[in-house]
Amino acid sequence: MQHIFAELTDLLGRERVRRDLRDRLAYAYDATGEKHLPDLVVFPETTAEVAACLRLAREHGMPVIPRGAGTNLSGGTLPLDGGMVVNLVRLNRIRHIDPDARTALVETGVVNGALQQAAAPHGLFFAPDPSSFKVATLGGNLAENAGGPRCAKYGVTANHVLGVELVLADGTVVELGGSVEDAPGLDLLGLAIGSEGTLGIMTAATLRLTPLPAAYRTMMAVFDSLPNAMAAVSGIVAARIIPAALELLDENTMSAVRRSNPAVAFTGAALLLIEVDGEPAELDAQVSRIDEVVRRHGAGEVRLAGSEAERNALWAARRAAYPSLAQVSPSVWAMDVTVPRDRLVPMLNEVLRLSALHGLKVYTVAHAGDGNMHPTIPYTPEDRPRLDLLNRDIQAACVALGGSITGEHGVGIEKLSGMGVQYGSDVLTWMQAVRQVFDPDRILNPGKAVPGGGNPHDHSP
C-alpha cells in the first residue's frame, strides 16, 4: 500500500492522492446508503493521468472504482473490497461545442447540468436528463446509460453518444466510435455505454446535441383509480402522441408528497404529469387530444400550465416524490423495473398484490411513457428479510411480463441476483466473456454489473 501510495503521489502530487480516513469516508458511499471504505482516492485531471493510475493499480493488483458524483442508485460506485477510487470530477472541461454539427466534445467529469447551460445559448440541449442532472456527471450518465423522464421521445443516453475515449484496464487508451458519425468496425461503443465502469474508464466523449424545442405544454391529470390512469397512458399512445414526459405518481406517493410539501394539493388515486414539446401549432392540437383522452378515462381534475411558473410548480410535485419518500423512512429501497408499455397495468396490479402479500407499503413513481417503474419501499432493518422477498418477486413479475429488472439505475450490486432471473446462462456467459476481453485481471469495478465468472462478490443464486 505504501508503495503504490508513493508512486501515485509522485504521479499526481500529494494533494490529489488521499488516504486519510476522513477522505476515504467521503468516498465510501453512493446514493444506496451502503458504505465500504476505499484504500485510496485519486483525482486525475487528464486522460494520461487516468491511464497511469490504471497501470499502477494493475501492477499492484488493486481494484479500481471509477466515480463521478456518486449519485448512482445501485451500488455501482461502492468500493466493496477497498481499492482505488478514481474520482473523475476534475476532468471537467467542455472542450468544444460545434453548433453546426450539433455535437459537444466533453470530458466525463463535466456535470450534465453544466453542459445543458453551455449548449442552451446555441439553441441546443443534451437530451438525457436523469433526475440528478444538476450534480451527476456525464461520465456517470454514460457509464450507467442513464435515462430520465424524456426517454420515450428522445431515447436513452446511448442514443446521444458518437464516441468515447476509453482507458482500458491495462492503461491503453482507445477511441470507440468517433467524433463524426458512422465509425467503421464493430459497435464497441454500444458495449461501453452502460457498462458501469467494468470495461474501462471513459475520460472524454463526443455527444450529440438536440435542438431545443420551440415550446412546451405541461398538463396534470388526477384520476380516481390507478387502472384508469394507466388506460389513459395507453390512450395517449393510441392517439399517436409521443409526449416528452409522461410521469405517474400513485396514491401513496401523492400522499407522501402532500405531507412534505403542503403546497402540492392534489388528491386522488393516481396523477399523470404530461409534457409535450415542439412547434406551438402542433402542441395546441396535441393538448386538446390529450385532454379528451384523459377525461374519457375518468380524470377528475385536469390542469394545463399557463406559464413557466405553473409548469415548474407541476414539475415540483413530480420532483418532490423521491425526497418526500426519504422523509417517510431513513432507508428507502428504490426499484427500477421496466415492462412493455402494454403491460403496465398488470405490472402495477402485481406490485399491489405483492405489497399486500409481504406486508410492506410500496410507493410507485413511473416514467409511464417508456414503461419504467420505480416501486419504492421505505423500510427498517427488521423489514429486510421481507424486503428481499418483495424485491425478488417484483423483479420476477417484471421479467415474466417481458420486462427488464433495471431500466436506468443499473445493476451495480443491488440487482446482481436478478440478472439470472432476466437472462439465461447463455447471455450471462457472453457478458462474462466480454468482460474477460476488456479486463482479464478483473480490476475494474469488481463485483458489479455482471454476476458470476469468478466474480468474488457475486452472491447471486
Binding site: 454539427a101 467524433s179 464497441l188 454500444g190 458495449l191 412493455p340 416514467h367 439465461g424 476488456f438
Partner: protein, 376 residues
C-alpha cells in the same frame, strides 16, 4: 451446400455445433460487400425463408419480425397498422430486415430519427450453441452489457440474426418531400449553394426527417423530407443510387462534421478531379457516399482523399472504401477504412471478442478486419 431455414429453430439446427466456415446471408443484395462462400465444403445459410407476419404490439409501439422478412414488407405491415419503423433504406426492395441490421445499413431518416441502431430493442440469434435472445421488448434496459448493438453491423460474424424486435413510432399523419436542384459548371459553387440551402433549412427552425443530397458535381438535388417523406421520392432516390452503383466501379463513404456539404464536395472534387464521379449524402449528418470511375483503380483517389481530409478536418473524418474498391485495395471483399492510424486498439478488442464469442471464427470468416494493419 445452401440451407434456407424456415424457422429460427431450423436455423439454429443448421449451425448447431459447427466450427465453420459458414457463410451467413440474407437476400444477397450486398454481395459486393459480403464474404464469398469458403471454397470446399463450406455451408451457406440464407434467411430468405425466415419470413411471416410480424408480431405487432401497437400499445407498446414495438414489433418483432423474422429476419428474412424484406424491409419493404416490414414497412408495409406496420403501415397497415398505423405504425412506423423510422428507418428508410436505399437498398434493393428485397433486402431483408436481418441483412440490413447485420450490414449496419444507412438510413436517410437518420437526421431526424437517429441511426438504425437506436431502433432495435432485441435480437434472437442462432449460434453454434443454440438460439440466444438479447435485449428485451422495452425502451429502457440497462441490465448488463448491450449485446444487441454488438450484432448490428457485425455482418453475422457472431451468429445469424433470426428475429428482431423493433422500437416504433405512430405513423406520421402528414409527410412531404421538397426538392431543390443546384446546377453550374463549377462544382465548388454548386456545393456552396447546396450547403447554403441546408443551413437555411436548419436555421429556419425546421425539423426535417431527412436532408439528402444526390447527383453529379455539376448537378445536385437536395431532398428535404418531413414525416416519413414521400414514398415515390424515396423510391426514385433509391433507384438513382442503384444506378450509380451499377454505373461506377468504385465506391467510398466519407464522414465529416455535419453538415459538411461544401467541405465534403470540395474534398471529393480535389480527390476525383478529372474523373467521372457522383455523390449522395446524408447532408444533415455529414455522411457522403461517392462513386467514381478510374482505370487506374481506386487507390490513387483514395490516397488523395485521405491526405486532403487530414489537412482539412484533422482527426474529424472517416473514409471507408466499400465493395469492389475494398477488394481492389486488399484482395478481399468487404470494406477497408481510413485513416490507417497506428493499429487501433479497437482492432485488438475486436479480434479478441471474435475469438471469445465466435469460436473458430465460424461465421463469415472471409470478412476482413476493418483496417489494413489488422490484416497484415
Amino acid at each position: 451446400m445452401i440451407i434456407r431455414p424456415d424457422s429460427p429453430a431450423a436455423a439454429a439446427a443448421a449451425l448447431a455445433g459447427t466450427d465453420g466456415p459458414v457463410c451467413i446471408r440474407g437476400a444477397g443484395t450486398r454481395t459486393a460487400w459480403q464474404p464469398l462462400p469458403a471454397p470446399g465444403p463450406g455451408l451457406v445459410v440464407e434467411t430468405t425463408r425466415l419470413t411471416g407476419p410480424g408480431d405487432l404490439r401497437p400499445d407498446n409501439l414495438s414489433a418483432s419480425f423474422l429476419a428474412g422478412t424484406p424491409l419493404s414488407d416490414v414497412h408495409a405491415q406496420l403501415q397497415a397498422a398505423g405504425l412506423w419503423f423510422p428507418v428508410a433504406h436505399c437498398d434493393a426492395p428485397e433486402a431483408t430486415l436481418g441483412g440490413c441490421l447485420a450490414a449496419g445499413f444507412e438510413s436517410p431518416l437518420r437526421f431526424g430519427y437517429g441511426p438504425p441502431r437506436d431502433w432495435v430493442l432485441g435480437l434472437e440469434v442462432a449460434t453454434p450453441q443454440g438460439l440466444i435472445r438479447f435485449g428485451a421488448d422495452v425502451i429502457k434496459n440497462v441490465a448488463g452489457y448491450d449485446l444487441v448493438k454488438l450484432h448490428l453491423g457485425a455482418w453475422g460474424r457472431f451468429g445469424l440474426i433470426t428475429r428482431a424486435t423493433l422500437r416504433l413510432l405512430p405513423l406520421p399523419e402528414a409527410s412531404h418531400t421538397f426538392s431543390q436542384t443546384f446546377t453550374g459548371p463549377d462544382p465548388l459553387q454548386v456545393a456552396g449553394a447546396a450547403e447554403t440551402a441546408v443551413r437555411a433549412a436548419l436555421a429556419a427552425g425546421a425539423r426535417p426527417a431527412a436532408l439528402e443530397l444526390i447527383g453529379q458535381p455539376d448537378h445536385l438535388r437536395l431532398l428535404v423530407a418531413t414525416g416519413t417523406g414521400n414514398e415515390d421520392d424515396w423510391q426514385a432516390y433509391s433507384h438513382q443510387r442503384a444506378a450509380m452503383t451499377a454505373r461506377y466501379p468504385w465506391r467510398l463513404k466519407l464522414s465529416l462534421p455535419a453538415p459538411g456539404v461544401a467541405a465534403a464536395l470540395g474534398l471529393l472534387d480535389r480527390a476525383l478531379s478529372g474523373l467521372d464521379w457522383a455523390v449522395a449524402g446524408h447532408a444533415g449528418s455529414g455522411i457522403f457516399t461517392a462513386w467514381w470511375d478510374d482505370p487506374a483503380g481506386p487507390a490513387p483517389a483514395l490516397n488523395r482523399l485521405q491526405a486532403q481530409a487530414q489537412a482539412v478536418s484533422a482527426d474529424r473524418w472517416f473514409v471507408v472504401a466499400e465493395g469492389a474498391a475494398a477488394r481492389a485495395m486488399t484482395g478481399q471483399p468487404g470494406w477497408v477504412s481510413f485513416p490507417p492510424r497506428p493499429p487501433r486498439s479497437q482492432d485488438r478488442l475486436e479480434a479478441a471478442l471474435r475469438a471469445a464469442l465466435a469460436p473458430g471464427n465460424f461465421a463469415n470468416p472471409h470478412l476482413p478486419s476493418p483496417t489494413p494493419e489488422a490484416r497484415s
